[in-house]
Symmetry: C2
């Protein structure tokens, strides 16, 4: 089955942005995407955003790699620096993927 | 903590739409949202879509209620009827939420 993520960790990040400093945000988001992809245990990302609302799903081999990314010095520094400027609020859920399905049009 | 979903089940639905039958899709999506919210164990939804790409997160009290929604006759019928018309592909991951964080601007 395509993209079976059973056994992976999903980090669900749901956010609403302020709209302030859109350029700074875009640059930081880009840098963080690239940095995340280099981390041990990184397994991919799905991301959609519209009208300031965003959902980002990042996938990790195990809980340790998800936690390591959360506490990565550059990631932490960017989060602290940007949080109050970029976001109205965010919510984050960490979950163990039990099963996956997928379907593609023939 | 606001919206602590620890212990809930998250169903992550990631999809790309064909763009065909947009009205039929919107009506069905609306009806399914309302029907889902009436199901036992329903705990909420987060949804963002842009340019045909969508991520919907639905939250459930336990695995049984997530499975019951998946196999709900009206939901199944709508899925079967609309799948080939509305979607290019979709992926679905079912996961146990281990922990939640949230942050709101002061």
């Amino acid at each position: 089955m395509a993209e079976d993520r059973s056994g992976q960790i999903a980090v669900m990040f749901i956010s609403e942005r302020t709209g302030d400093d859109a350029e700074g945000y875009a640059a930081a988001a880009d840098a963080m995407d690239r940095l995340a992809a280099q981390q041990p245990g990184y397994r991919g990302v799905d991301n959609v955003s519209a009208d300031g609302l965003g959902i980002t799903l990042s996938y990790w081999a195990d809980d340790a790699s998800a936690v390591a990314w959360r506490t990565h010095p550059e990631h932490s520094a960017t989060r602290e620096a940007g949080r109050g400027r970029w976001y109205k609020w965010y919510r984050l859920h960490v979950a163990d993927i039990a099963r996956s399905y997928s379907w593609t049009r023939e």
